[in-house]
Structure formats: C-alpha cells, structure tokens
Symmetry: D3
C-alpha cells in the first residue's frame, strides 16, 4: 500500500568497516546487543568527530549512575520532547527503549502523542512538564518552574538532568528532522510483545 | 514502572446490555469482528442519540464505496490529522486500522509523528497536506489548495471526502481529548506482527 | 463598491426538489419558519447521508431539552468558537440565531470578535472559556478545566454539552471554511431590529 | 438574557463640557454628524494631548485626499486588521463606517471574520493581504510583499498608506483592547438597513 | 565581511532643508543635541502631517512629566516591546537612549533579547510583563493584569502610560519593519562606554 | 537605575582550580586569549563530562577547517538562531565573536533582532533562512530547503554544517535559558570599537 522504504537518511552513510576503530567497536557492540545498528550511528558517523561528541554527551547524561531519574524516566523525557518536536527517529527508537526499560508497552505511544494522557505518576508528570517547557519554550523558564519540580521531590541536580536531556534531544531532534533520519524497522515492534527482550 | 491503567474516559460508561437495541447490536457486531469493544463506543454510548449520529457520519464517509480514496488512504487522513491534534485515542485506534488495511506496519507511526517523513506516494502526500490544512488552518484554504490536489489527480469529490474526514476527526479528536478517552490495549499491537488479522 | 455576491459555496448545490423526501421536508419546514433556506442545508445536501448525520448530531445536542444550558447559551458557545475558528457562515448564521434567542442585539458581535469583552455573566464566561479551550487547544484540557466549570455551577453533563457543541462546530467550521460556504444575506440583519422575529 | 451593558471603558471618562475647546468642538461636530459621540473620543479625551495626537494621525491618513485608496478601501484595511487583532470597538465602529461608505451591508462582517471569504476584487485582496501582514507579522515583510502589491496596481505611496493605517490601528486596537473600550450601541446597526444614513 | 550599509529605509528620504519650518527646526534641534539626525525623522518626514502627529503622540507620552514611570522605565518598555516585535530600528535607537538614561550599559541588550533575564526590580518586571502583553496579546488583557500591576505599586495612570507606550511602539515597530528602517550607526555604541554622553 | 548584577547562572559554579586538569587547561587558555573566562565554561564545568562533550561538539563544528562557511558565517548562524531562541548568553557572547571575526560592528545587533534586515549577501541570507528553519521548524524541512541552499552555491556538506551548528545551539540556547546563564560584561562591548581586539 505504501511506497518503498526510505533510505537511512538523505545523506549517504559510511560502511561500518571504514570507520575509525573506536566508532567501529562501539557500533559493533551496539549491534551485538540490539541485533542491528541503529540508524543514528550510521548517519552521524560520516563525521566521526561529531558522532564521538554526540555519544559522549549522550553517555554523560543517560549513563550517569547517580541520577535521581531512573533510566526509564530519562527515556520518558526523550520520548515526550521528541514527540513535541515531531522527530520520527527519536520517537520510534527511544519509544522502543522506553518500552523495554519500563516494561510498559503503551507508555511510549502515550508520551509521544499527548503526555497529559500518559499513565504516569504526578511526580513524573512534573518532570515531563519541565522537560516540555525546555523543549518548546525555554526562554520563559523561571524559578517558578523549579519550584514546581521541588514540590514533587525533584532537586536541582534532577532539574539539571531533565533540562540537559531535553536540550540534547533539542539538538538530535533537529538534526534527525533536517536529514530525514528514518528509524530502523526493528524499533517499531521492540518491547510491544510480552517477552520481547529489546 | 508506570501507573495503573487509566479508565476508559473521565465519564462513567454504560453497560452494553443496557443500551438501546440498535446500538447494542452494532457494538456486539464490532466486538465479534475485532475481539473487543473499542472504547469510543462505550464513551459515546452514554448519549445514544449522539453516538447514533456520530456513527452515521462515520459510516457515510468511511464506508462510502464510490470514493476516490482507498480505505487505507482514508485512515491515513485520520491518523495524520489526529496526530496533528495530539489525540491519543484516534492515533492508536486508527493507527491500528491503518496498519491492517495498508499492510504497512510502520506507516501509522510515521503519519502520527511527522507526515512529511512518511513512506507515501506524492499523490498521497498531496492528500495529507490538504487534510492537515483542514485540520490546523481551515480558515486559510483557498482555490490554490484544490489546485494542488488536482495536480495529483484528486478531483472535487475526493477533496470533499478528505475535508469531511478531516472535519469529522476535528470533532472526535476534540471530544476524545476533552474526555480523556484511552485507546484499548489491543490497538497498540494490532497490525504490527506479520500475521496479525486485526 | 464590493464585488458580485459569492455563490452559496465552491461546490454546486442541488435543487431542493431533487432531494430525498426526508431532507426536502426538513428543508421546507426550515424555509417556512425562517423565510429562506439556510445555505448550509443546500451545501451539505449534495451528500444526503452526510447531511442526515450532521442534522442528527445537531439536533441531539441543540434540541436536547434536559440540558443545563439554555438555547441562547448553546448559541453563545457556537458563536464564540466559530469566531475563534474564523468561520464566516457559522458566525453570521448562528450570530443571528443568538440575537433572536437572547434578545441581545450586540451579544453576537461581541462573542465573535472577542469573548472576553462580551456582556455575559461570570458563569457564562466560564462556559465560554471551556468551549474555547475545546475549540483551540483540546489536547491541553485537564481536570482543572472541569473544576473551573464546577466553581460556576456547571456539572459534568453541562461540560459534555459544551465540549460536544464546541466539537461539532469544530467539524462544521472546518467544512464551511474549506468549501467557502457563504451566509444567507438575511442572517446579517436578523435580530438586530427591535421587532425582528428571526 | 445577557448582562447589563458594560461602561464606555474601564477608565472613567470626562464630561465633554470640561474638555479643552478644540476637542470639545471636534467632538460636538462629530456628534452633530453621527447623532452620538463615538466612545473612542470619550476614552482618549482624559489625556487631551494624546487624543489630539491620535486624531492628527488619524486625519493625516484617513482624510488624505490624494490617496490611491478610496475611503471605503481604507476602512476595509481597518476592519480586516482590527478583526485580526480581535478589537471589538474598532471592528464594530469601523465596520459601521465601512458599510456606509461602501454601501455594502455584508462586507464588514466578512472582513472582520475571515478576509479570504470577503466579496472584494483581486486588487483589494492584495491590499488586505499586505495590511494583514503588517498587522500580524511586520517583521517578515520583504520586497516580495511590495511586488505583490505592484502586480495589482498599488504603488509605493499606496503601500505607505496601507502600512501606516494598519500600523495606526495596531496602536488603537491595542489601546482599545487593553482598556476594554466598548462600541456605541448605534454602530452595530448602522449601514445595515437599505436607507440608513450612518 | 558584510555587505554595503543599507539605506535609511526602502523609501527615498527628503532633504532636511526642504522640510516645513517646524519639522526642520525640530530636526536641527535633535541633531544639535545628539550629533546626528535619527533616521526615523528622515523616513517619516516625507509625509509631514504624519511625522507631526507621531512626534505629538511621542512627546505626549514620553515627555509627560507627572508620570509614575521614570524616563528610563519608559525606555525599558520600548526596548522590551520592540524586541518582542523584532524591530531593529527601535531596539537599537531606544536601546541607546535607555543605556544613557539608566546608566546601565547591559540593560538594553538584556531587555531586547529576553526580558525575563534582565537585571530589573520586581516592580519593573511587572511593568514589562504588562507591556509585553499589550504588545503581543492585548486581546487577552483582563482586570487580573491590572491587579498584577497594582500589587507592585503601579496605579491606573501608570497602567495607561505603559499601555499607551506599548501601543505607540506597536505602531512604530510595524512601520519601521515594513519600510526596513535602519538605525543610525551612532546608536549601536552610544551609552556603552563609561563616559559616553549620548 | 537597574538592579544588582545577576550571578553567572542559577546554579553554583566551581572554582577553576578545582576542575580536572584538561578542563582547567582549556579554560586558562581561553582566559589568556580573551582576558576573562566566558561564563558558559564555569556553568557547564560543574559536570566535567558534559562540558567535555559540549566542547568536543563545538570544536568539531566551529573549528572544522574544510568548511564551506567562513568562521564569521558560522557565528552569523549562531547569532541569528540564538536571537530566534531569545538566548541572552549566546546572543551577547557570540555577537561579540561575530563582531570581531567579521569586523562588522553592527551585524550582530541586526542578526539577533531581525535577520531579514541584516546587511548580508543573498548567499548568506539563504544560509540564515535554512538555519532559522532548523532552529524553529525543523519538522517541516524538505528537499526544497536544500534546493534553496544550492541555488546560492551551498552544497550538502555546507548544509550539514549549518544544520549541525543550528542544532548545537538549539541545545545550548535551551540550557542557557533554563539555567539563566548571564553573559560576561566584557562581551557587550567587544568588537564595537574600531581597534578592539576581542
């Protein structure tokens, strides 16, 4: 019914074997874990220094262990803000990761479409409201927004995590939209079935 | 990880057995076909005259056989405009129907998130652009919008179908959002697996 | 000074005598009462099943006797939301009906232009605020919006009336704008003179 | 049905007899011609120097005889931009003046609600498009906007008239909205009846 | 690096010596004080009646001695609203005047870019919030906005000053943007150096 | 006139001497060159891994030698998009850098306020239009936007530079706004005087 699958993105993508060793190793590691290479690696790899910087920022925020946000909550921030920015790649790819982390097969669809309807706690709703304001109207943030977070138990370090993750995906949503980055087919289904491992 | 499932909607819903016979029969027929009762029936059934009118309008547009739009294309209009209106129920429920009709497991996620990235033909892209203008900025429609449709082979009757479907979901998206109508769990997965029947 | 009158709409309209009997009877009844056939009947009558469904939904909401909204208040919802949607037909036609029902010759102009300046009670202002949020930003409605209605004495059934009427005119405003439906000349003056009967 | 009439505006208004002689004379002259004192005079008269400046700017633009715009066309610019700015006073008062000048009883309702549906010539439509861009998005005006005017026979002096009138009502719409200036009852009906003189 | 300087504006400007005596005198007086003729005088002088009216309104508001706003506070209103309207001439010219009046070399850059980040008192922040609502959303102003002013010690006469200044620059921002009025080079630096006199 | 200077940002900032050696060296190098430590270093340094990643991305894009954009053109992209995002820190800091690189003392004020009025070449105007679409509406980018770049001689690698820089400042504008990062006083004046070295 629909047309041929679109390419990874509107730019040519390099062969993994031609990449610098550090990136090749990282990509092969991801491929080993996930069973496929997420397209964002291929798209950004054409400029190795930029991919390295993106991954470093990504890891600094998302792998940071001492965070007050759980891994699933970080993905909730990503899916909600990427939905607000209408970024197909990030909604589908991080929606998949969220389903796996949260073991909540409906949550990503809810957050991507309308976070106000999502099955989340009031504390998570406050986190999402702050993240969406960073994504859509950061110029209007005031101390009142931090106070609303504190009322739900989020401190200033948590706020930094939220605003930085929303900021980083402000970057990647823009790049992905501008280059028409398509999500891998695998992401659409991942985490939707009872025993999917992701 | 996430909270308890939300109820069908913020209003109490009637028991199917208590409904007028015509509605009960219609609902049981749907249940027989789909395996479950879509929540929109339950939510609107509390006002039988309104549900009857909604179904009559729905059927007049979506079951109309002589249309220049295929059944899948009508669902594409619904998913894209419901995504633009951020209506969780319609995105998930009609996304499922679209996957089944179009045998295209990724298409609904694409249309709901960013129709410009969807794997559709140029003719379908013109249909979607017109539908989205009806949904988001109908006040600005001029003859130039009809001309853009004609360039892709859509005539005035097709345009009427598109604008009426986008209009009808302008209604149902608003009601569903206002009453917090939740999609049935079944819709999230329907049509995503190779052999799913919907 | 201005140009020739525009046609009823950009689509050809059928002759009333050629319509199915039920629609012909309904239209002749309206003509008998109002002295003319409102253009919306002519425009939608080219697709009898759709006109029937529209009238059924219209009647279910606007003729519903047990409503907590008066007939004039329902028209206030229509005029304010149609003004927000910049729908010429609905502003002028329902503005006329509102003037007649409310015996308030200035009220329709106020509501269509800027509802915040309209001469209404605080209770009606709450009704209008809810209706306008349904029309313009239904995705953001939360329980706080229902609470604001309750503070002014509107219960959940009243809320359903308001949201459904705003929703239905979300549909008809979009269709009327898309097909350039023009109001009958008679509507512009109706209810503006002390003894006009409408 | 509706509430008590609102006052002239949210500020107290002076007695005409207490005004400086020049303003008193001007107001009495208007009253003599129109049969009543338009509320804008009363509202602004509390600061005589400001009313004088406003009238001077108004007269310089609207009474300018050598203009390429007719008096009715200038009022078309005012009504369309005031509708876009949702200014009740200016829509109703200048709508009345437009009906009288243009002998077109429906034109003001059309322009205030949706200028794209108004019964105007293509040349007037180009004038209105430019005026609306000045009103709503002046920051984006480029030479292409002047070229679109020229294509319809409007030269740079006409453009200056249009942009200055749209600019002046950018001022008066903001003041009228901010002080809740109400139109005189007389304006609502003026020019709607075959023999009304205005 | 950049291109040739742009002209004063897209319209030809008159020679000062050819202007009516009152305008010539006013312009020479300004030139004597400032060391140059601000471009707005040259641009508007092509229509002497309009320049006279503009200057009369400007003087009535900005030279009004009994105002509750200081001269610097009036310029703060102008710079913040002109920034919101993205008016290059008014941001740069009135930014210079503000720097001189307030002896605050950073304040104009702050207000033009994001007033929420500006180094102002809470009282001034309330003034700016009201002014920005007049500039960007006057249609939504209600008594609650006046109450917020009163909480910070601004009375109704102060509110009139704020709304009128924001209104007047609603006019001049639109004209300046539409005619591409460029600020004089001198304004960019004025008031930035410790001993600049302006 | 204005209030006390605001702190670097709403978060405490570390002492440079306490930072990891690589960051301390980098900061001291910048301080040596510029004469002061730009506040963004202090603000982000509280999370060394994040600052390292940000600087790596920044350097990969802005120090990339083979780019088709000059250093000044890259700063033009930054100032225009940061103005659109109303980011005080980035407008003032990168405005200073742009003035120094471009030897164009007015250009930064123009780009931050209204890029359409800036004294740039048509080729640079196309670059800015693409950058602003990435910043404000990346979801709507299509091949037509790349074609508009190509018409002005920008190839796909240049497009990648533009979209990535606009994307990166989509990130830093959001963080700076959210944490209320203030520009160093020195930036406001830098590059405005004939012999300033920056």
């Amino acid at each position: 019914m629909s047309t041929e699958p679109k390419p990874v993105c509107r730019y040519p993508v390099p062969d993994v074997v031609d990449l610098p060793e550090d990136l090749r190793d990282r990509i092969l590691e991801v491929q080993h874990k996930a069973g496929f290479v997420p397209n964002v690696f291929l798209a950004l790899a054409r400029r190795p220094a930029e991919l390295r910087a993106f991954l470093a920022y990504h890891d600094a925020l998302l792998l940071r262990e001492e965070s007050g946000l759980s891994k699933a909550e970080k993905e909730m921030v990503i899916v909600a803000t990427s939905g607000a920015n209408r970024c197909l790649y990030c909604v589908v790819a991080h929606g998949a990761i969220l389903r796996v982390y949260a073991k909540a097969p409906r949550l990503a669809d809810q957050l991507a479409t309308n976070p106000l309807k999502a099955e989340v706690t009031p504390r998570q709703a406050a986190m999402l409201a702050f993240a969406l304001k960073v994504a859509l109207d950061a110029q209007s943030i005031t101390e009142a927004d931090y106070a609303a977070l504190r009322e739900q138990g989020w401190d200033d370090e948590d706020a930094w995590d939220i605003l930085s993750i929303a900021g980083l995906f402000g970057l990647s949503n823009r790049i992905a939209n501008a280059i028409s980055l398509m999500p891998n087919e695998e992401f659409h289904l991942m985490g939707r079935l009872p025993r999917t491992k992701g």
